[in-house]
Symmetry: C4
């Protein structure tokens, strides 16, 4: 139960950040049928950000399956990480509102840098816990720990690369964010079927 309350608070922020995205889904104009068709960017932005936050939650879950204690430094890194997760609805709205309009470059950059910083904070969270086994469970499986490290490490670089395309090709940049989310979901769905039990839930 050491980390129980930390997980409740974190799950709350993940759940709220994801659910608040719906407040950005809006259509204007008439007739409604036509407005709904023209509103597609806001649905796509909703889906991509919801799935991205959902994936972050799954990964956060994976980190916590390997640790069984926390210290105040870890708590503070987690607060900063959650602050970035909870920021995602803002750049999501910017992107949805600027598809096919001037300003898409700035919107995509804001979205991309938010995700890049979030991935960096997630690396800080994991490597602070894993460095020298600081916060790991005594019985943490070294292969699982290495697997998590390997899957987390490239995150900031992947998001930074997709972000940098926004200088000049903002639409490509946004497509890449969607592709990253869908690819990650599909990869997990296809290769993650090994049934796991209570103590190693969501190991890779």
């Amino acid at each position: 139960v050491t980390t129980a309350r930390l997980e409740t608070f974190s799950d709350g922020v993940f759940a709220i950040a994801a659910t608040l995205l719906i407040l950005n889904v809006n259509v204007t104009g008439a007739p409604l049928g036509k407005a709904l068709v023209h509103g597609w960017p806001s649905y796509v932005a909703y889906a991509v950000s919801f799935l991205t936050i959902g994936i972050m939650w799954v990964n956060h879950h994976g980190v916590f399956s390997q640790i069984d204690k926390v210290d105040r430094t870890f708590l503070m890194i987690n607060v900063v990480f959650l602050m970035l997760v909870a920021f995602v609805p803002f750049p999501t709205k910017l992107v949805a509102e600027h598809i096919h309009r001037p300003g898409l470059e700035a919107a995509a950059l804001t979205y991309g840098f938010t995700l890049t910083l979030t991935a960096l904070a997630y690396n800080a969270l994991w490597f602070y816990a894993a460095r020298g086994g600081r916060l790991l469970r005594a019985d943490a499986d070294p292969k699982t720990v290495t697997g998590i490290s390997r899957s987390i490490l490239p995150g900031p670089l992947i998001y930074l690369t997709a972000t940098l395309f926004a200088f000049g090709w903002p639409t490509l940049s946004i497509v890449l964010f969607a592709v990253i989310a869908v690819f990650y979901m599909a990869e997990s769905a296809l290769f993650g079927r090994r049934v796991v039990n209570a103590t190693d839930t969501v190991r890779h």
Copy 2:
């Protein structure tokens, strides 16, 4: 405790999606008394969507009473399912705003297709877990499992049927969504009184 955190996150999304519905309840115009009477569609839409999300939560609860492990595929299906649940406030607002106005057909279709997709995702969630007993508890009762399968399977067809009436009879379609919610509540209240204990909560 295997599925505990998944349930916390899911409960958070259900609770927030249901509670955010209140942000769509609004009245305008003066005097206030008259405006409040004219605002009835927004209260009815609030109630129908809140009850519908509440029923989904009860059913989700029922699924989790039968499983005791998860894998990454299941986590991802659950994220997609929650993404659809959290989308419900948007078409709810559309329906409430277009009662007795042009655009009701498009609003009812958006509402109906959202619920149909949600019911489909719920089927995917359950049958992925239940197929071959993949994620079921070792001691899951076959009759209960079959009972859940039977109650889940017709959901998409029922919602699709109510949705298709919206082509031409959008008001009828909306009345059907309300009837489905109220019928389900009443059926549970009348026939679901068998007292259940900790391990088989909300079995049928």
Copy 3:
């Protein structure tokens, strides 16, 4: 653990309904200092409704300390109860916006009937669980059960009485809602100091 997930979902709705009240706190006009002073009704309305929802949460907590099983009927009554709790931010906004303005009567009536219905649903929830000991713990203390029944029963009548004053004296009615909340808080703080342990938390 029987009722754990039901409590998580309910706590989520209580917490969100209470926290969303802040979205109704707004001031307009300039200079800001003067606007903040004129904005007092929205702070008072925020406080009264937050405390009222907080008290409902404390009481809901008290009910769950006496039961250890649920059935589908109880789940459905709880969903209806939460639907009314989550509705509170709407009439709160109406009251805050109509202090010293026409329409206060309609606003106070909406607020009062919402609280009266909530108190009724809370009675239904408790007496459904307690009737014949249906969902009570085997070791529930009869004196505690009787104490809860006695404290819950007058709720609808108290709120209805305060509501009916709104026909003609809406300001008095609103003052009464505040007095009820403050009185209940103070009574608990002064007379509820008996230290309780894990199994009988928040007994009277």
Copy 4:
């Protein structure tokens, strides 16, 4: 499990209050790139308030690690404390909207008094629980208890001092609120690394 549900409800309010802050982050004007640069006060206000609420959550967590029972008075103090925490998004918006504009003094005062009152309520919560060991665990470590008392006691004075600077130097006052949050985070991160186990999580 005594305090479990109280913590769930509290964590919900903390998580929602922090996450709702994003609704105050907004930019207007064109081109978007320039508007995003001019929007810096809303990002800084978001970060400072998110971190401040996160720190309050960490501290609240610390209090609950030392107690294992509650009474109704404690529940009521906690509701009042959460009412103040959930109020933070309102003055945060005021400050963000009035940087470099008339009204900053009133905004900074509102922000500061909210935090001062929150710190006072937090003192009431802790000292009500700790006075004479009323709600403390039988095995609470006296040094830890004294440590928490010492770290909580100066909170209201620190916030009140920063608040009073707003009479005449509102910008300085706001900078002080940010410095308090960052200092507290850094102090914890640098000096809080001692690994703690399940029963004394987040002790100092």
